[in-house]
């Protein structure tokens, strides 16, 4: 199988959306090596602080490495500054970490979603060298991005309650990855509110 970009070697999709005093972040759970599916429980989103998640779609090896690098920095920051890292700062730090490898980058295009210390929603995405995208509605990344843009643009509306946000995010993600050969094989959706985090596993087309 030929692939145009190393970002398409493993495949995967991540989506984050802002609701009313809440955010949701979701990813598919396929781990594949080109056409071969190897695992169906490989989520690309991870909880890195109490109220912040990050998704790392792209090359699976770099997904794991960036996660470890980020967790390292976040843990040291909490100890040094005696406070939790706000989602906006997580995003800024990620941009720095990625740009440091400007001429030999990590092949991930991260998505950040969380609530700040006043429980205000924050989402952002960036390219593999750290160029940020700060949106108020939704951000997404991965091999199903074109389909996801279409779905989100159509289904999204502001101020969705957590349960409705979950439904919209699930529909957007599932319909999009069903049209992408390299993404799918299940999904996981996390909804973050001031009261806590609800995580649900979705079964898609097998």
């Amino acid at each position: 199988l030929a692939y145009m970009s190393i970002l398409e070697y493993n495949g995967g999709a991540v989506l984050a959306m802002v609701g009313k005093n809440c955010v949701a972040i979701a990813s598919d759970t396929r781990f594949g090596i080109q056409h071969q599916t190897v695992s169906t429980d490989f989520s690309k989103v991870f909880r890195i602080t109490d109220k912040t998640f990050v998704g790392f779609p792209g090359l699976a090896s770099d997904t794991q490495t960036m996660l470890n690098k980020l967790k390292f920095r976040i843990k040291l920051y909490s100890l040094d500054e005696d406070r939790e890292m706000e989602p906006k700062i997580v995003s800024n730090l990620l941009q720095t970490l990625l740009y440091e490898k400007r001429f030999g980058p990590f092949f991930v295009e991260p998505v950040v979603a969380g609530l700040d210390k006043n429980n205000k929603p924050f989402i952002s995405a960036m390219d593999l060298i750290g160029a940020p995208l700060l949106a108020e509605d939704f951000v997404l990344s991965g091999t199903a991005s074109e389909a996801m843009y279409g779905m989100c643009e159509t289904l999204y509306r502001p101020d969705l309650e957590p349960e409705d946000l979950f439904e919209v995010v699930s529909q957007c993600l599932l319909s999009s990855v069903n049209r992408d050969a390299l993404s799918g094989w299940g999904a996981v959706v996390h909804v973050i509110t001031a009261d806590g985090i609800t995580s649900r596993v979705l079964k898609g087309r097998q």
């Binding site: 040094d80 500054e81 005696d82 906006k88 700062i89 800024n92 730090l93 720095t96």
Partner: protein, 235 residues
């Protein structure tokens, strides 16, 4: 090779009694320097220092109170050139922090970083400790803060403090005058009165320097005319 250099060993070594005499001597250098003080108010912080200069020297060419960032300032007692090095390093550290996190450095963090620099100079080859104590004042998300950093690298948070020549008398004076509900204007007046306590000769707007940070997070060195006004209010 670095290890072959005649200066690869630390000049600061322990005495048999467990002291680092170089640091003791550095503290001596500080206590011979002109008095500086700081007072934390409810809505800001004030730092001030004597600027005793020979008659022929132009007062405006020496600035003892400096900005580290927009919302953090610093004053020293001790060796002026040593303070310049720390101010430069502190400013750079603050900008490096911003470069990484796109957020302004918290006061507690810049204090820690500067303190670490000062500690390094007590445990490195071929260098001597800094001959200054610093008073760092700022206003950030955690409110108004005042910190002292010593040549050893120790740092302390203060409600009000003084360093340099007249520190004992100044601190006694401050202990009597200080209260937690002080407002910035009161703190500035108290700072001036405290400086006056140990001042030899006539105190004018040309031989003291005052820096103030307010609730809006702006650290500013007061102009000579502003200082003159405050001096008039205190008379």
């Amino acid at each position: 090779k670095m290890s072959e250099s005649p200066y690869s060993f630390s000049l600061t070594t322990f005495s048999p009694s467990g002291k680092l005499v170089q640091i003791e001597y550095a503290l001596q250098a500080v206590s011979q320097g002109t008095t500086s003080l700081g007072i934390k108010a409810k809505d800001g912080v004030v730092i001030a220092t004597e600027k005793k200069l020979p008659d022929l020297l132009k007062p405006s060419s020496i600035q003892k109170v400096n900005n580290l960032t927009d919302n953090i300032g610093v004053v020293y007692s001790g060796l002026n050139p040593d303070s310049r090095v720390l101010v430069t390093k502190g400013r750079k550290l603050a900008q490096q922090y911003y470069r990484t996190y796109k957020e302004n450095i918290p006061i507690s963090m810049i204090v820690k970083k500067i303190a670490n620099v000062m500690q390094e100079y007590t445990q490195s080859g071929g260098v001597r400790p800094f001959g200054v104590s610093l008073l760092i004042a700022g206003y950030d998300e955690s409110g108004p803060q005042l910190f002292q950093v010593d040549p050893s690298g120790s740092y302390f948070g203060w409600k009000a403090s003084a360093i340099g020549k007249n520190t004992l008398n100044a601190k006694t004076f401050l202990e009597k005058r200080y209260n937690e509900d002080m407002e910035l204007e009161d703190a500035i007046h108290t700072a001036i009165l405290t400086l006056k306590e140990g001042f030899e000769g006539q105190m004018t707007e040309n031989n003291i320097e005052i820096g103030v940070v307010n609730q809006q997070g702006e650290f500013r060195v007061l102009s000579t005319s502003e200082v003159k006004d405050y001096l008039g209010e205190v008379e």
